[in-house]
Subunit: 304 residues, 2 copies
């Protein structure tokens, strides 16, 4: 089973505070590092956590409110100044490319590495990346400007071969890939050996859903159904539900309700308003509805 | 005499490090706060130093390399989100306005306060701000892209009245402004009382010159002549003089030479390459040529 973990680089909404950076998360899967949103100061957070940021090959930007992308141009520039040559893929709203291009033009910078931009749309779910291990999709949020969430789904693992049974039945090596994918073994004498006695169940594929920023939005539920970990923004506590709706943000109760209705395994809340110094009351409110909730706090790492 | 001091918010060149932010300085004069350059993370540095950033009315951007302005859009946005209504004046290269406008457009933000943009040019010295206490000029640096320094000069203080002499000579109150500006007093009997016995010398006007980024450039010398405090970049030590020239940056020896030739009172060096963990050797090299040199380090405050 591949390592799969999430590092919180920033959990503040709107404005950074002395303790909380604006939104940025680093998702590690196998050897890959995916950066999700990139608020101001992300490159320094990565340095302070001793994360070698040149390893990041894919960056996902949910929308163009500054607290989700103002750190991107600085990170791109530092990657260049530190001699990067490997390509970098950026997924985000089309206007992001204009903003990056204009700033590179202003500094008369020609990047030393290929920057490949993949525009996202906020109309419907869409697969935006796929390799042998993972599928990444964008899907619409309900916010003031076009905004997407991102869903990272492991592909099913192959079944694991029982070497003892292979040897016992003298199964030819060239058939092993078929057994891994679930086929039965038919012996030369015609006997059928069911796959389930030759192989064992692989680990279940895991998934991570990132939902920020959004008002309460039931369209999210079928998309993130059964996610291993759901991050859902909770800018406000329940007493500010009108304020949240007005600003197209969510409350703790709304995030927890999405978690319940989507049947996810664990909920992570974040994107807290700067008005909350103490986050425990937010956690308590969410846990009253969905007990397996955790707080996203800068520097925390969650195994998925 | 008005308070006049400089707070270093960032002293790194090119890329931030864990300890050093990219260039930003806060100059306080009387009640006014002037922000000079605004690298990524400046708004958080201001918060951590408990500086109320809504008090800043004027921001000066030297040039459009990212380490000098990538924190500006975040600061502007936070000022907006925190309810600012007072106008903000920004002085910088014309393309800066395009960059800010595009980012505000992308986030569909209409600022709650007037943002007044004043384009600078890097061809010749020019007065860009003046009030009753201070004159601020921009002047050309020698860099890869159009870059200006900024010179902050106090206006001469008025002469101070000797109350004992005023009473002794029974000088009418309405004549006092003329005495403050240096005129003699002619008594009703025609006696001339020279100004120097009625008033005392005011404090000398002070000045601060900001020079970053630039190669060694003798055109700076007549502009900053006699400055109370000169900040001059020293990206490299003397052994990298060719490297410095190649990148249109300066060495410690070059900064100190400008200080000597301009006859400034004190030199402050900064904008250090991330290759230097220990800054003492840079200070030693500069002091060998200009003894009254200090290191600009994040968080330091210098009285001018």
């Amino acid at each position: 089973m591949l390592p799969f973990n999430l590092t919180i680089l920033g959990c503040s909404s709107a404005t950074p505070t002395s303790e909380r950076n604006p939104t940025a998360q680093l998702l590690g899967h196998g050897e890959k590092l995916f950066l999700i949103d990139c608020g101001e100061g992300t490159q320094v957070s990565l340095r302070r956590m001793h994360i070698h940021f040149q390893r990041i090959r894919h960056i996902f930007i949910s929308h163009l409110h500054g607290d989700h992308f103002y750190g991107l141009i600085g990170l791109i520039s530092s990657m260049h100044l530190l001699g990067r040559t490997k390509s970098l893929h950026i997924y985000g709203p089309p206007m992001l490319k204009e903003i990056l291009d204009l700033q590179l033009l202003a500094s008369q910078t020609t990047l030393l590495y290929p920057l490949e931009f993949h525009p996202t749309q906020a109309e419907k779910p869409e697969v935006i990346f796929e390799d042998e291990h993972i599928i990444i999709s964008s899907f619409p949020m309900l916010h003031r400007i076009p905004t997407t969430g991102f869903f990272f789904q492991e592909k099913p693992y192959e079944r694991k071969i029982r070497k003892d049974v292979i040897e016992l039945l003298k199964i030819p090596v060239h058939l092993i890939p078929k057994l891994r994918s679930g086929e039965d073994y038919i012996a030369p004498d015609g006997t059928i050996h069911p796959n389930k006695i030759i192989t064992i169940d692989p680990p279940s594929p895991r998934s991570y859903a990132f939902c920020s920023d959004t008002a309460y939005f039931e369209d999210i539920i079928p998309v993130v159904k059964g996610a291993t970990l759901l991050y859902h923004e909770t800018t406000f506590m329940n007493d500010r539900v009108a304020n949240a709706a007005d600003k197209f943000h969510s409350t703790t109760g709304q995030a927890a309700t999405v978690a319940v209705k989507a049947g996810v395994k664990k909920l992570l809340i974040g994107h807290y308003s700067a008005r909350y110094d103490n986050l425990q009351p937010l956690l308590d409110e969410a846990r009253a509805i969905f007990p397996d909730t955790e707080l996203a706090v800068d520097g925390c790492v969650f195994e998925i």
